[in-house]
């Protein structure tokens, strides 16, 4: 760990999430993720870097829906990394983020197979941005071609920009404040982003909450995404 290293992490409060999907839209806009259309989505080919998973509980009049926003968990021990023969998915030691190098990817999809969270998305066709979506492409982010894996990277373009600006202004780079698009957009403040290495940060405090847990902890992936939830029940809507 270098002096400037961060361990970026996210806390998602399931008790606050209303499943409004604003984070999904914001992510698509920020990261130039193409919309693939209803037919392809029904085949399981969406390009949502963050998605709201919906689980039904109960039957009839007792039917409840549980929602869980899911994005790349930025595992510190990521199953996708060792299986890639091309180092297309590697660990960024400075930011502690699992990054995807689009140029290196040949589309073997081994990482997608080995990811237990199934958060890696594949470009099945060339991306298509219908009018007027093509006018709002983010110039900081590469548009991926067909045959490439992509996934959430905690809006690393924003992290890098903040780091460079802090350097240029002579400010300490370990105190930079960044928000990914999904966190920025969340209306209920259910998503919190920050540096886990800073014990005073809000994300550190929330991650120590008794309500906190990580997804599929038994697999030993050490995710950087923490979920908060009341001990006995899921968020539910009757």
């Amino acid at each position: 760990m270098t002096e400037n290293s961060h361990r970026w992490a996210m806390v998602i409060d399931l008790d606050l999430c209303t499943a409004c999907q604003a984070c999904v839209v914001a992510c698509h806009a920020e990261n130039n993720a193409a919309t693939v259309g209803e037919e392809e989505v029904s085949k399981g080919r969406s390009l949502h870097w963050i998605r709201i998973e919906r689980y039904w509980q109960g039957k009839g009049s007792h039917l409840k829906a549980d929602f869980m926003p899911l994005l790349c968990q930025q595992c510190q021990n990521a199953p996708c990394e060792p299986v890639c023969p091309l180092y297309a998915t590697v660990h960024d030691e400075t930011e502690s983020i699992n990054i995807q190098v689009y140029n290196r990817c040949a589309g073997i999809r081994y990482c997608g197979v080995n990811c237990p969270y199934k958060v890696r998305m594949f470009n099945w066709f060339n991306p298509y941005f219908p009018e007027p979506l093509n006018e709002q492409l983010n110039p900081d982010v590469t548009v991926r071609t067909r045959g490439i894996m992509e996934k959430c990277n905690f809006c690393i373009q924003r992290i890098r920009r903040a780091r460079e600006e802090a350097k240029a202004d002579g400010l300490p780079v370990d105190k930079i404040a960044v928000q990914p698009a999904c966190v920025q957009t969340c209306p209920t403040d259910a998503l919190v982003f920050g540096d886990l290495n800073d014990p005073e940060s809000r994300v550190s405090q929330l991650a120590r909450s008794p309500r906190a847990f990580v997804l599929l902890e038994e697999l030993g992936t050490q995710p950087s995404v923490f979920y908060l939830q009341r001990g006995d029940s899921h968020v539910s809507y009757e």
Binding site: V83, L86, A106, I108
Partner: protein, 492 residues
């Protein structure tokens, strides 16, 4: 019979006795009795050479029609569909999330499995000194090389950016980046490259004396081809000595390579976190299945070659019988591994494991699952006990074809069935092969058959010198009043 037996002198007389338990008492009767063994039924060397050379030239109208049909299927169904997929993207295949791997990987595993025939039949049986292998080694070795080529092409077909596929090759490159040696995919590539090189050389070495034989008896382009490839073979003692030594070394070296190849292919699955794949038994399970399907494929190919190339003298019922016994043994072993794997998955009580076994036994995979059990277990175990079945090439051909269908289904179930379920039920999915995938899969079969059909008319499919060597070693000898077959040790 060969000259050796003449020294033993005339037989005393035909003495009456319990005929059913006694060995034949006259040389003529002994020769007749054992004449169904190729190695005890020698013919003049020139006649055998002629038979093999004639089989090479047996390219009638039917042959060219078959070749043309296969070429159209291979070009259209295989190459054409592949180009279409490269042009538009992997989306034209039926794969999706979470089923990131589909029939292309199943095909890859299947063709690598077929390639195990050559090494098993040729190298292992050679090392073990199984004499029945002699006329059938070449056919099996050719299958190894051709099926490996088809298998390697599926690695290219599978990747999303085929034009970047060469990046996986480990060589010092302008990108300044080595591939990731921790990736099982890279293990795969290294193992298969080693196996392809090794098995091609192992096919070539025993071919040299036969190429020289063909060189001396042909004219025109064939003569020029064989002359170049025979490397000046004249059959001197030094040459024979070196060749035998090289073959012996290669036979021993290629056996561990063969075991490693399919173990590593199995590790593609076993080293992941996918429930159902994450099984330590996958290595030997896959190797067994590979040899099982490989031996069956050898039976299929020998049957076709024997009838279309008129090789009834060389490929006899005894060879089908021996291969059928191997098939039976490997059916048992495969069954053992299959049930060990399946039972643990079911008994383990992991919820996703239960989902996967349910998909196989009751879900959309059930027809394939039960067909696999029928072809791989029920049919071989119920029929191959019978000597009459083992001696009937037609029935054996059908059984072996069934085993190959069953083994393909096994790979299909393992690759495409298990990915449907994972730890987060929101991401469960289903998978149906698209027309492009089906076209490429059938096209690959056509490409394999096409390459094999062309190679079988280009190079002698029967190793004449090995048969001849076996015939020299096998003699009938007289012990007391009885004539019994004996075998001499030819090795140094």
């Amino acid at each position: 019979m060969s000259a050796m037996n003449e020294a033993t002198g005339p037989v005393l007389s035909d003495v009456e006795g319990p005929a059913e338990m006694a060995a034949p008492v006259s040389q003529a009767r002994a020769e007749e009795e054992y004449s169904h063994h190729l190695l005890l039924d020698p013919r003049p060397q020139e006649e055998m050479n002629r038979m093999v050379l004639e089989s090479l030239q047996r390219t009638g109208r039917e042959y060219w029609i078959v070749v043309a049909v296969l070429a159209v299927m291979a070009l259209g169904g295989f190459v054409g569909a592949w180009i279409y997929q490269i042009r538009w993207g992997m989306g034209v295949a039926g794969i999706n999330r979470p089923n990131y791997w589909g029939v292309f990987i199943a095909n890859f595993v299947f063709w690598v499995g077929i390639s195990h025939s050559g090494t098993f039949v040729s190298a292992i049986l050679r090392v073990l000194g199984a004499e029945f292998r002699r006329p059938i080694t070449r056919a099996a070795e050719m299958m190894t090389t051709v099926s490996l080529l088809v298998a390697v092409s599926f690695l290219g077909i599978h990747v999303g950016r085929t034009w970047r596929g060469y990046w996986i090759l480990p060589y010092p490159n302008q990108r300044g980046l080595w591939p990731n040696f921790r990736s099982p995919f890279l293990f795969d590539e290294i193992a298969i490259a080693a196996y392809l090189v090794g098995s091609t050389l192992y096919l070539y070495l025993p071919l040299i004396p036969d190429l020289a034989m063909a060189r001396d008896r042909t004219t025109g382009w064939r003569n020029r081809l064989y002359r170049a490839m025979a490397l000046g073979w004249r059959g001197t003692e030094v040459q024979w000595h070196n060749l035998q030594r090289a073959i012996a070394v290669f036979a021993f070296v290629i056996i561990p390579v063969m075991f490693s190849v399919h173990t590593i292919v199995a590790w593609d699955f076993a080293l992941t976190k996918v429930v159902g794949w994450h099984s330590s038994i996958f290595g030997p399970y896959f190797v067994t299945g590979a040899i099982f399907s490989g031996v069956s494929a050898v039976i299929n190919v020998l049957f076709i070659a024997r009838s279309t190339m008129k090789l009834h003298y060389f490929i006899r019922e005894e060879h089908f019988d021996a291969l059928a016994k191997l098939m039976l043994v490997f059916s048992f072993v495969w069954t053992y591994f299959f049930f060990t794997d399946f039972f643990v998955e079911w008994y383990g009580g992991h919820k996703i494991g239960h989902q996967i076994t349910a998909i196989q036994t009751m879900g959309p995979m059930a027809p394939f699952f039960y067909a696999m059990l029928f072809f791989n277990i029920v049919v071989p175990c119920a029929t191959l006990w019978s000597r009459r079945v083992r001696h009937s090439p037609v029935i054996l051909f059908l059984i072996a074809l069934g085993v190959n269908v069953g083994m393909y289904l096994e790979r299909f179930i393992i690759v495409t069935g298990f990915l449907r379920r994972n730890d987060l039920p929101f991401n469960w999915g289903t998978y149906t092969p698209s027309p492009v995938e089906i076209s490429i899969s059938l096209g690959s079969l056509a490409a394999f058959l096409l390459l094999y059909a062309l190679l079988s008319r280009l190079f002698p499919i029967i190793p004449v010198w090995e048969v001849r060597e076996g015939q020299l070693a096998h003699t009938l000898r007289r012990f007391g009043r009885a004539w019994v077959p004996t075998i001499a040790e030819l090795e140094e």
